[in-house]
Symmetry: C2
Subunit: 159 residues, 2 copies
């Protein structure tokens, strides 16, 4: 669980990072930036902020924002609805992000990208300046994500 203050700080930080990356949002979008702490209650260490631009039955596009050193914990996107699971491309826009995919480490800096196959374990951590990362993918169903840490709850709870 995170406090309302932590939530609001994370949204304000995200809005600043989007602006610094030259990414324009509508007022409606600023109002629905999601803050995920994965139920671990230690947002600046483990979590991320995200904004979904579009998520149809066929494709999805999001922006992810991470605090400096913040980690999105290991997970995979399992098969669903007759598909092999979500395939996704991370493209770094600002700062840097270290990505671990099946034990391999890849560092992405602005303009660099990497595509993660479906149903493949991965986790990522922002560098010292934080990160803004565009995610392009097949259809996204966050609620189906399978995390390695059994304590994790994907749906955010704000106190």
């Amino acid at each position: 669980m995170i406090s309302r203050e932590e939530h609001n700080e994370a949204v304000a930080y995200s809005a600043e990072q989007f602006a610094a990356a030259g990414i324009e949002l509508t007022a409606e979008e600023r109002g629905r930036i999601e803050v995920a702490d994965f139920g671990l209650g230690d947002l600046r260490k483990t979590g991320l902020m995200l904004l979904v631009y579009v998520n149809t039955d066929r494709y999805c596009a999001k922006e992810l924002v991470l605090y400096p050193g913040q980690t999105c914990p290991e997970h995979r996107h399992p098969p669903f609805a007759g598909t092999p699971g979500k395939e996704e491309t991370f493209r770094c826009r600002r700062g840097s992000v270290d990505l671990w995919v099946d034990g391999r480490q890849i560092t992405l800096r602005p303009g660099e990208q990497f595509t993660i196959p479906p149903d493949t374990l991965h986790w990522f951590q922002a560098g010292a300046e934080g990160a803004v990362v565009s995610e392009f993918s097949s259809a996204s169903r966050d609620e189906l994500d399978v995390f390695t840490d059994p304590r994790i709850v994907r749906a955010p709870v704000v106190d």
Copy 2:
């Protein structure tokens, strides 16, 4: 057909517009910006520049760049390989773009977006400042596009 000079000017303009929009590219990406005049030989009036970030069997992400007043002519993305055809979301990043979809006009400014259903006639024109537009979609097969103007050839020819 466009001249090598027109091609190079269009690539240089695109690189400037990407930079002005805060969009970082790798050197490899700068080297493969595509210039499409649709075979009409009047690039500044009819055409567009594009960079494909990723195009898998499942999803695609591109950036489009248009000169001020430049038009991408009417076309549709027909069904293929058992799919209903390409579904796409245009998100304006810089400048503005007027989009006509099934006779309806939509103007997109930075941060605004619109999703075009598969197999639906549409065309678009940049405003007076040109445009940078992100395109998120299902899998893209540009060579299958059906244009209303029978003179159009999608594959670019550089003299």
